[in-house]
Assembly symmetry: C5
Homo-oligomer: 94 residues x 5
């Protein structure tokens, strides 16, 4: 899964009918230090993520699984809201 921060939302009137009622957020992929990487993407949200929260999302078919309609044509979905990331000073510990 991939780390990202919620930075906005999308309004789309004309869309596939399986997306009706699905909350669509704009998320900015980040690295483990919270720095932006790459371009924002549009992800479905059924977890209840809010602006500014750090989340992790799944791509492809896995991204649609948390939705009420898991066979929606969604290829990125928010899977969880991150409370904290633990990265030790040394990564050789164990």
């Amino acid at each position: 899964m991939h780390l990202a921060r919620v930075i906005g939302s999308v309004v789309a009137t004309d869309k596939d009918e399986r997306l009706v009622g699905v909350k669509l957020l704009v998320i900015q992929p980040i690295n483990s230090r919270g720095e932006d990487k790459g371009s924002p993407i549009v992800a479905a949200d059924s977890i209840g993520a809010g602006y500014g929260e750090t989340i992790f999302y799944a791509r492809s078919r896995e991204g649609a699984m948390p939705l009420p309609q898991p066979n929606a044509c969604v290829d990125a979905g928010i899977i969880g809201i991150i409370d904290s990331i633990h990265v030790p000073i040394t990564d050789e510990g164990g």
Copy 2:
């Protein structure tokens, strides 16, 4: 899903028979500020997107789902036309 802008269309006479009747558009992936990123791709369209419109598309199997023939050999499909993107000035708000 990914943001893109419709920039053209494709004519292909010799193609897989499951693509007959499928509208094929050339779309330019963009970031949330509308700036181009990467190279254009060819996407199937069943939503009715037009030149210059901002859309979002799904990749892989999900991209073919909106088509009349969902098992077409399509790996990118337009899923919705974007009316507006809301990105607050600060992404720490709630």
Copy 3:
């Protein structure tokens, strides 16, 4: 789907048996102006593409669908031969 130009072919004697009889072409991904991008890949061809032709191909499972044996272990397949790409001078028209 992705744009590419056919630049060569591959001979492979030792291969998965489901690839016997499958034509394997080397294709160079391009952008909508016909300029190379990234590295060439090996794609299966059942459409009859020839050297120098511009084609579009699908990735993953979708790439194997046009083959006589659609469950072949192929992750890129030529889907159509492009006659022309229409990209207006301004992409705001419509």
Copy 4:
């Protein structure tokens, strides 16, 4: 599969229910010389990997297969812990 080193872990209270009980690690993709490449990702672990260990992981559906619940919405999973990588000085040897 892809090489990575375990660099941390993630705590997420609000998440898809199929992720309850799944250990989520932060892993840093590396090349064959152990050097970092790209950004860390979040991967499920059912092998028992520890901080600092070199592992290989699978993406997409394959990443969820080792989990007790293989249909979890997981798109990256640790598949094995690497004891050693053998790369000869010359790669032309046989």
Copy 5:
């Protein structure tokens, strides 16, 4: 499919049980001129590829298909050993 050269192998004692008995090679992706591109990956091999050989591999589910156990959690597999690549001087011929 993608071109690569076999550059090494991996020993992993702790791994998903479906990988027991599967030969795991380290392969370096290359372009059509044999030059390295990107970072090495770990691929399953059931074709019998050896050090220094040029191969092509499939990603995702397609990569596991040649294995005795096709539902192994493998996302990259060697599909064929390349005898020769034919790339004409001009790619407009044909």
